[in-house]
Subunit: 385 residues, 2 copies
């Protein structure tokens, strides 16, 4: 039976995530994987979960297992509002920050609408925008306006996925200015903002253009991704439409999980755990930077992220990371080819490396292996003759 | 600032749930509410949650808090597959069965596409179909084909929300036959199927037309709604597309919650709790039926559900349940006006009553109050003169 005739006109624009495809085929624990964007399991507050669960059941009773408000439970919205200095009415809890991206796309995008984004851009966002048949284009440099008005500008200003880079205050001001000139919205995706290992925090774009920014947050990196919880902070008229949309999507976010997050925040455990997580990830980032320095051949450069989970390699032009991928996997090392993050599939000599998930003991063999493959691909003749 | 110019062309078709709007304004615990579709809190396995949580953390370790597979964790898919006698490859876990409805709509519907549905129809489904600008029409009686081919037929064959009715086997066979003739799919929404209080189970439509049925299930009524977990059973080519779509929606369902559901099923607790839930709800259904018999004036009729959470009242034509609503709320009783479940807003002399959520002690005063309001609305002159 041919099912393709039943599918909506959006379906041919659905992209499979090459990252998730890797996860389907390969046991990441069996190889040296720099591929996913997984947090380190050692940062999960495993030991706190039983006590948190007990406290939630005592304090909230059967409310913890019942349907909840579509906006999220008031107690968690209150915690988010307090932490980020916004009114509760400007906070919507989402079932993951990926849902935050999807719900913004759902209420804003029609086929052909323009989204301006960094290039390379976060794959989950690109998937979502493309699934609504949006036209994803690169944000112009400086304050130059593009020929047609976009619906919104999408950015990850802090420790960008995939590049690892942080936007300067001047660039954030340009983005806010550009949005005002174009009269469009800004979707500021901030899943990593709290994971800063060096340097000083930069003002969020939301504070530079509060009237037109939807800021997305995530519990995946500051609590645990298994809870699928995130939030949106934004102007009330936009949140009101998101509220109506969310009724159709899943009625409300997971309720027990929301109360666990509430108590995790209210008790101070989040801040204590975050401090430990930052120490852990700073060490891993520094280790990876030193290993790249030690093993990578000449002609390879990389970003030096001040936070987040990723860094970005630019290899000699002769290296094709898409072509190299199967060989690398067979050799026992995984990465994500950089071209997957480019709207046009270009930049095949780049790759994204994750430094949060891999066991530290595997980092050196992994980078050494990868460096060998890169060196070979950069100058294959050296080995043949 | 006017935000309406930013919204997609779908947004004007978004419907607010009148049920969820009630929840925003009124504390349902303070009145006699027959309005929501909430399960009784006494059916939640509160006492089991700490031990289940401990077992999950012991057994699955940090996997319970990490990102999971987009299709759902294999252990839960296995449990569902075993319970319903289908291969694991035909099971997708969803973040609520509302997401099941939304994801089917997302991959199948373009603006103007026809969906055939019962009339009255579940409001959450109507919201979702309308949000994709589908044309929702009533399923023709018998096997008569409608003038244009629909994308799918949507039904709740067991203890329908809102009507409380169960579809006969003959009618299910007609639906399967109709779908084959029209070459369309069937979305069989089965959130209440396991809640049968009397009569014999009827074959699911999925078994009558497995090649073209997507069957939606829910943990909300057999575990607890706060977990936001459901599932879809269907042909693999359709699930493959749902898998790709779900990556954009939220990457994966909540992981700790999925493992809690896995252990709840595997340990036999689900079946034990379900047996108690059925006894509880049967008593409430019987009580409500006897109270309606006792208090409702002549000219009022109602369905006699064999399961589920709802029954449906048809009042004398003079009674307008939309107009009566504010008066009822002020008097301390809530229901959902039946016309909200009709695609054309007709049948204003009907209402849906929920018998699962309300305290049993409030049922008699609630029905007596409601009966008085109905009697007055049916013959207002009797009180004026």
């Amino acid at each position: 039976m041919d099912y393709s005739k039943f599918f909506s006109a959006d379906v041919p624009s659905f992209l499979r995530s090459p990252v998730r495809e890797i996860f389907r085929k390969v046991d990441l624990n069996a190889i040296c994987s720099f591929a996913g964007g997984y947090p380190a399991a050692c940062t999960f507050p495993m030991a706190d979960i039983p006590a948190l669960t007990g406290r939630v059941l005592d304090k909230y009773g059967t409310r913890a297992l019942q349907y909840g408000a579509t906006q999220g439970v008031p107690e968690l919205r209150e915690q988010i509002a307090r932490r980020y200095g916004v009114p509760v009415s400007q906070v919507q809890i989402t079932t993951s920050s990926q849902q935050g991206i999807d719900i913004c796309s759902r209420i804003l995008l029609d086929p052909g609408d323009i989204v301006l984004a960094d290039n390379p851009v976060y794959l989950g966002a690109l998937q979502s925008f493309r699934a609504y048949r949006a036209d994803v284009r690169e944000i112009p440099a400086g304050c130059d306006a593009p020929p047609s008005a976009p619906k919104f500008i999408y950015v990850i200003p802090d420790f960008n996925n995939p590049s690892g880079e942080t936007m300067t205050l001047a660039r954030r001001q340009e983005i806010a200015q550009l949005a005002r000139e174009l009269d469009c919205l800004i979707v500021e995706d901030s899943p990593y903002r709290e994971l800063r290992y060096s340097g000083e925090p930069v003002t969020p774009i939301r504070e530079l253009a509060p009237e037109r920014t939807l800021q997305l947050g995530s519990f995946s990196k500051i609590f645990a991704p298994g809870f699928r919880l995130g939030w949106i902070i934004g102007p009330e008229p936009l949140l009101e439409q998101i509220f109506v949309c969310k009724q159709c999507l899943d009625l409300c976010p997971p309720v027990l999980d929301q109360y666990l997050a509430t108590e995790f925040m209210a008790s101070g455990l989040l801040d204590a755990n975050l401090a430990k997580t930052i120490v852990e990830y700073r060490r891993r980032r520094d280790l990876m930077l030193s290993l790249l320095e030690k093993y990578m051949p000449a002609g390879v450069s990389w970003t030096h992220p001040e936070g987040g989970l990723f860094l970005w390699l630019t290899l000699p032009p002769a290296v094709d990371t898409v072509a190299l991928y199967d060989k690398a996997l067979a050799a026992g090392v995984a990465y994500v080819a950089g071209s997957f993050f480019y709207t046009d599939g270009s930049h095949r000599n780049t790759m994204r490396l994750n430094f949060s998930f891999i066991d530290e003991a595997k980092m050196e063999p992994g980078i050494r292996l990868l460096a060998g493959l890169v060196a070979e691909a950069a100058a294959p003749s050296a080995r043949i003759y």
